[in-house]
C-alpha cells in the first residue's frame, strides 16, 4: 500500500496513477479482512470498484497527461519545511503510539455495554448494524443526507454545464 501511494504521487501517466490508487484501496480491503471487519470490507470493495470505473472512464474521455507545474525558486525552502514537519510528526507519533496499550487490548468503557446487551436491546445479531441504526442512527441519517447532497450537487453542476 505504501509503495502504491508513493508511486501514485510521482507517476506522470494518470491512468497508471488511478491503477496505483486501486492497489491502495484493495490493500485496505485486505487490512479490513485481517482485522475481522467484513462489513467495512464489503463496502470498501464495492465502492472502490465503482470509483475506479468512474475515474478510468473520466481519464479515457479526457486526457492521460498530468499538468506541468512550474517549480519556482523557493523550492529549497519548501523542501526544508517538509523535512522539518516530517521529522516532527514522526517523533510525535512515535511518542503517542508508545503510550498506547498493546494491540487488541483497549479500554472498554462504553463498548462493553454495547457488546453485552446490544443484541438483546436492538434485536439484531449483527452488532454493527445494531449500533449503526439504533444507538447511532443520527450518524446514519447524516451519511445518507451527505450522499443525497452529493448526488444533487453533481446533477446540478453537470446538467447546467451540459445544457450550455
Amino acid at each position: 500500500m505504501i509503495l502504491g501511494s508513493i508511486y501514485l504521487l510521482h507517476v506522470k501517466d494518470l491512468l497508471s496513477a488511478v491503477i496505483a490508487y486501486g492497489i491502495v484501496g484493495f490493500g485496505l480491503v485486505i487490512c479490513f479482512l485481517l482485522l475481522n471487519a467484513p462489513d467495512l470490507a464489503i463496502i470498501q470493495i464495492v465502492v472502490e470498484t465503482i470509483t475506479l470505473i468512474i475515474m478510468i472512464a473520466v481519464i479515457l474521455n479526457t486526457t492521460r497527461k498530468e499538468l506541468d507545474i512550474q517549480t519556482d525558486r523557493s523550492r529549497i525552502f519548501t523542501f526544508i519545511a517538509a523535512i522539518i514537519l516530517l521529522g516532527g510528526f514522526t517523533y510525535y507519533f512515535i511518542v503517542v503510539t508508545g503510550s498506547l496499550n498493546a494491540f487488541g487490548d483497549h479500554y472498554l468503557r462504553m463498548s462493553e455495554s454495547y457488546v453485552n446487551y446490544g443484541a438483546d436491546k436492538t434485536g439484531s445479531i449483527n452488532l454493527v448494524t445494531g449500533v449503526l441504526l439504533d444507538y447511532r442512527a443520527y450518524d446514519t441519517l447524516g451519511e445518507a443526507t451527505i450522499l443525497f447532497t452529493a448526488a444533487i450537487g453533481v446533477l446540478t453542476v453537470l446538467r447546467l454545464k451540459g445544457k450550455k
Partner: protein
C-alpha cells in the same frame, strides 16, 4: 463491447443484483447492510450500462427515475425516524416495532426497513451520479 463481455454481463449482473438484495435484507443478521447492498445494486446496473453502451437505455428518463427514487427513499427513512416520535417513547429514531426473536429475519424492529430504505437511497444516488456523467458526455459531444 464484444460479445464475450455482453454474454458474461448477462450471466453475472442478475446474480450481483440478487446478492445486493440478499445483503440488504439480511443486514441485521450477516455482515453488510444498507450501504454495501445499495452499492452492489448500483454496481449491477453500472455493469449493464457499461457493457451494452449508453444509448441502449434511454438515459434521461432513467436519470429522472433514479433521482426521484433517491428522494423518496431518504424521505421514507426520515418518516421512519420521525415515527419514533409518534409511537412509544417520544424520541427520534425510537425502535417502536417489537424486536421479535433474535436471529430470525423478521426481527429487530425498524432496523430492516431502515436498511432497505438506505440501500435504495445509496443505489439511486450512485446511479444518478453515473447517469449525470454519461448525459454530460453525450451533451458535450453533440
Amino acid at each position: 463491447m464484444t460479445i464475450i463481455v455482453k454474454k458474461v454481463t448477462q450471466l453475472v449482473s442478475g446474480a450481483i443484483f440478487l446478492f445486493g438484495i440478499y445483503i440488504l435484507v439480511h443486514g441485521h443478521l450477516t455482515p453488510g447492510g444498507g450501504f454495501a447492498g445499495g452499492a452492489l445494486i448500483a454496481g449491477a446496473f453500472i455493469l449493464l450500462i457499461l457493457s451494452y453502451g449508453s444509448d441502449y437505455l434511454k438515459l434521461v428518463d432513467k436519470e429522472k427515475g433514479s433521482a426521484l427514487t433517491e428522494s423518496v427513499a431518504i424521505f421514507g427513512f426520515l418518516l421512519f425516524a420521525a415515527a419514533g416520535l409518534l409511537f412509544g417513547l417520544k424520541t427520534f429514531f425510537y425502535n417502536f416495532l417489537p424486536t421479535g426473536e433474535i436471529g430470525k429475519i423478521n426481527s429487530a424492529g425498524i432496523i430492516p426497513f431502515c436498511n432497505v430504505l438506505i440501500g435504495i437511497e445509496v443505489a439511486a444516488a450512485l446511479l444518478s451520479i453515473f447517469y449525470a456523467f454519461l448525459i454530460y458526455k453525450e451533451e458535450v459531444q453533440k
